[in-house]
């Protein structure tokens, strides 16, 4: 099995090289035989890597501890569920996982691309093959998952307990899927540059792919936040850690792209910008991988320091230089077809949205790299933490949220004053009402007030858009309102799905603002004793320590504390928090004790209890009690965001051809009049 895995890796390496060469040469010389060969190489590459993955999974399931990787990340008593995720629990396995998923995406790109965009495919095969080859070469030359130990341990070291959480089974793959699938739009961008077919066609080919990776990245980020919240026990979900930032960066750039792409489709502007965004998003994904795996920036997340980082740095530099050189040679072909006509236009609001998103991305990148930059320039390492990121990004984020509400209200090209008055009346009034209500209620936190006000504005904008669309359908076809709303969504998924994503963003911002009202206390309690804590919405919570129980579970010794909670004197439930000491099959402790948080989630507040430890082995226990407002809305907002994204992504339907307007342009989703759908 191990031999087979090794062979498969080497074979994949050669196939990848072959695919790269034949794709580029075949594309450039227009030779169908080479083009066909590159296409087949994409499929063969996936086949070879799949064999390698199966070999590794078999070794994991058979507990073949002669394999260094299996011994390092699994043990005999690891639950089966986590044996699956052991594939990507360590550096080497995750590289294999990465390359395999990339090759799968490469196959899908070959198969699913329509006839109209066939001319890009040889180059796409070449780029995807070469990127996969890079990952394979890292494995083959520096971090081979099939490396043998020169002895066979009785049992493996086991998996880090923090990874033994359902969130950790899904979070890395989702994040990887997002990260990896950016390669496909990037490959199409390079293909468009190489083939000099730079009209809106390539955008149509990549838009859905970008949306796919945006969606996966969103899900990956959200599950990561959830995991940090329920597993790490520090009481929050986002810490501006370099690795989190690294995942956020491509997300921000892709969000910018998904907006600015509409301007190119509709008005033929921003061609250079869009290409740069896609190339930038992909480079940032490689940069993120580099940060995660090299340990150059101190982070809680990073993999063990290793020379793998140099591979990634070299690849990053090489890829950046070659893609931007190619880009520079094609600039003359990328002239805009139209000019900006007015500041008060949809185009302008999109441009500002893009600038803000890139500004946020830049500040996050700068803050993440600041220790390195300051050391290089001034000779001292200076770090910036969450206060920096919050100080910079709260105002920028709120401005962006405001544009989320404003943009859809402004017409394309040039908006007239009566039109603006008609569009803004309801949302602006709503915003004023919201701010007054919360001011009267006694809220004085500026950031939170702004988040609520702007959030209210965005909600009102979206509701108005839906209401107008539904009313128009009602008038035209006599559809009842509910049906009209459904039809509206079904007929123009891109536009109305996008609005749902906007609503989700408003929810998320309001939920983020809620965290500035969290309250916290620590207490040492004997059984029967209690601690009280006041929540931001004025309730008094009493936490009573009921007692400690200790017992053994499958692969751990558990110390559990039970806490009863009263709100304003009324019992609202019991929370359980644990310390877990994981053990191996022989009962020896592995890893340090880990904490299981007790959480009771509600629409208004989350109760969050952490058992910090026992005093000298007695039942007297140390707790941290936290009341986190509005956290539930982060998860719900995330859910809505994914639903919105899926609606946009759902195949078919969306593109409604209207007489005289090319389909690509109507797909941008902003046909002003609701015409019957070309029937």
């Amino acid at each position: 099995m191990i031999l087979l895995g090794n062979l498969a890796l080497w074979l994949a390496f050669l196939i990848g090289l072959w695919g790269g060469i034949t794709g580029f040469v075949g594309g450039a010389q227009g030779r169908p035989d080479l083009q066909q060969s590159a296409r087949h190489a994409s499929f063969a590459l996936f086949g070879a890597l799949l064999v390698a993955v199966i070999s590794l999974e078999l070794a994991i399931f058979r507990h073949d501890f002669s394999l260094e990787y299996v011994a390092a990340y699994t043990s005999r008593n690891l639950p089966t569920f986590y044996l699956w995720s052991a594939l990507y629990a360590g550096q080497k396995g995750s590289l294999l996982f990465w390359a395999t998923v990339l090759s799968l995406f490469a196959c899908l790109a070959q198969v699913m691309t329509g006839r109209r965009h066939r001319m890009y495919l040889p180059y796409v095969a070449a780029v995807t093959c070469l990127v996969a080859t890079f990952f394979i070469s890292v494995m083959v030359f520096a971090a081979n998952p099939f490396e043998r130990l020169n002895f066979v341990p009785l049992d493996g070291r086991g998996m880090n307990p923090q990874l033994q959480n359902p969130g950790m089974v899904f979070h890395p793959p989702m994040l990887y899927l997002g990260y990896i699938s950016i390669t496909i739009p990037f490959a199409f961008a390079i293909a468009a540059l190489l083939s000099k077919k730079l009209d809106a066609e390539w955008l149509v080919a990549v838009r859905k792919w970008t949306l796919v990776s945006w969606l996966f990245l969103s899900i990956g980020l959200l599950i990561g936040m959830w995991w940090a919240y329920v597993e790490l026990g520090w009481g929050g979900y986002w810490a501006w850690d370099p690795v989190e930032n690294a995942a956020l960066l491509p997300w921000l750039v892709m969000t910018a792209f998904l907006h600015s792409v509409m301007i190119q489709e509709k008005r033929g502007m921003l061609k250079k910008w869009n290409l740069a965004l896609i190339i930038g998003a992909w480079l940032l994904s490689i940069f993120g991988t580099f940060i995660t795996r090299s340990g150059v920036i101190a982070s809680v997340h990073s993999f063990t320091q290793s020379n793998v980082g140099y591979f990634f740095l070299a690849f990053l530099v090489l890829a950046a230089v070659s893609s931007f050189t190619l880009y520079a040679t094609r600039l003359p072909l990328l002239e805009a077809e139209a000019r900006l006509e007015s500041m008060v236009s949809r185009e302008a609001s999109f441009l500002f949205n893009n600038l803000l998103l890139i500004g946020i991305a830049f500040s996050v990148l700068w803050g993440t790299l600041f220790p390195i930059l300051s050391e290089a320039i001034r000779g001292t390492k200076i770090t910036v933490g969450p206060p920096f990121f919050n100080q910079v990004n709260v105002p920028l984020g709120l401005s962006l949220l405001a544009l989320t509400g404003i943009g859809p209200l402004i017409a394309w090209r040039r908006a007239s004053v009566p039109n603006l008055r008609r569009q803004f009346a309801v949302p602006a009034t709503t915003a004023v009402f919201v701010v007054l209500i919360f001011l009267v209620a006694g809220m004085r936190d500026f950031g939170a007030l702004m988040a609520l006000t702007i959030g209210g504005f965005v909600f009102a904008t979206v509701i108005q858009e839906f209401a107008r669309g539904a009313r128009a359908r009602h008038r035209q076809y006599g559809e009842p309102t509910a049906l009209a709303v459904v039809q509206l969504l079904a007929r123009n998924r891109r536009r109305y799905g996008g609005y749902i994503v906007h609503v989700a963003m408003a929810m998320l911002f309001i939920a983020f603002a809620g965290m500035s009202f969290k309250t916290e206390t620590e207490a040492t309690l004997k059984p029967g004793e209690s601690a009280t804590l006041r929540s931001a919405d004025g309730h008094v919570y009493t936490f009573t320590h009921l007692g400690i129980s200790q017992y053994n579970a499958l692969n751990r010794q558990v110390t559990a504390a039970l806490v009863e909670v009263h709100r304003d004197g009324k019992a609202v439930g019991r929370l359980r928090t644990e310390k877990r000491q994981h053990v191996d099959a022989l009962g020896r402790p592995t890893f340090e004790p880990s904490t299981e948080v007790g959480i009771q989630s509600g629409l208004r507040v989350d109760l969050y209890v952490v058992l910090a430890g026992l005093v000298n082995g007695t039942e007297q226990a140390v707790f941290r009690f936290t009341i986190n407002p509005l956290v539930w809305w982060v998860w719900f907002g995330g859910f809505v965001l994914v639903i919105g994204g899926l609606i946009v992504l759902w195949p078919g339907g969306g593109a409604v051809a209207i007489k005289g307007v090319p389909a690509a342009r109507t797909q941008a989703g902003y046909t002003v009049k609701l015409e019957p759908a070309g029937r």
Binding site: G158, N160, S299, V300, L355, G367, T383, Q391, P395, S594
Partner: protein
């Protein structure tokens, strides 16, 4: 004024505010990240490094960790091989904090020669990988 010019003004405004926010953010919240020997060197030449918020990255000296659960006090020494400082921290250290782990201590060095920490970050070998047993 042409729309392009107006837009350029808006763009300058946005870029300017991003730049301003970043510059002021770094000025107000930036902290030195030092190793114990760098800290020792600086403090010997510049008294202002006492009672200054900073981060110190080092390794915990094995065997020096004292935990008092009742008062939630944690005492340990950190070193980079050359210089060494005692640290005192009130609060809950992360799960990954152990003897001999790499830590980032956030706090202030006081005149008593002790770093009074407000935060302790333990850098486990990896989030994904087991900490090798020493």
């Amino acid at each position: 004024m042409k729309a392009g010019t107006k837009f350029a003004l808006g763009a300058v405004l946005i870029v300017g505010s991003v730049g301003y926010l970043m510059a002021s953010g770094i000025k107000q919240t930036g902290q030195y990240f030092l190793t114990p020997s760098e800290l020792a060197q600086r403090v010997s030449t510049d008294q202002s490094f006492y009672d200054l918020g900073m981060k110190v990255g080092a390794r915990v000296v094995p065997g020096t960790v004292e935990r008092e659960t009742a008062t939630q006090t944690l005492r340990f020494r950190i070193t980079d091989g050359t210089a060494s400082y005692p640290v005192v921290f009130h609060g809950l250290p992360p799960d990954t904090f152990t003897d001999s782990v790499e830590v980032v201590v956030e706090g202030r060095l006081q005149k008593d020669g002790i770093i009074h920490a407000t935060g302790v970050l333990a850098k486990c070998g990896s989030r994904y990988e087991a900490v090798p047993k020493a």
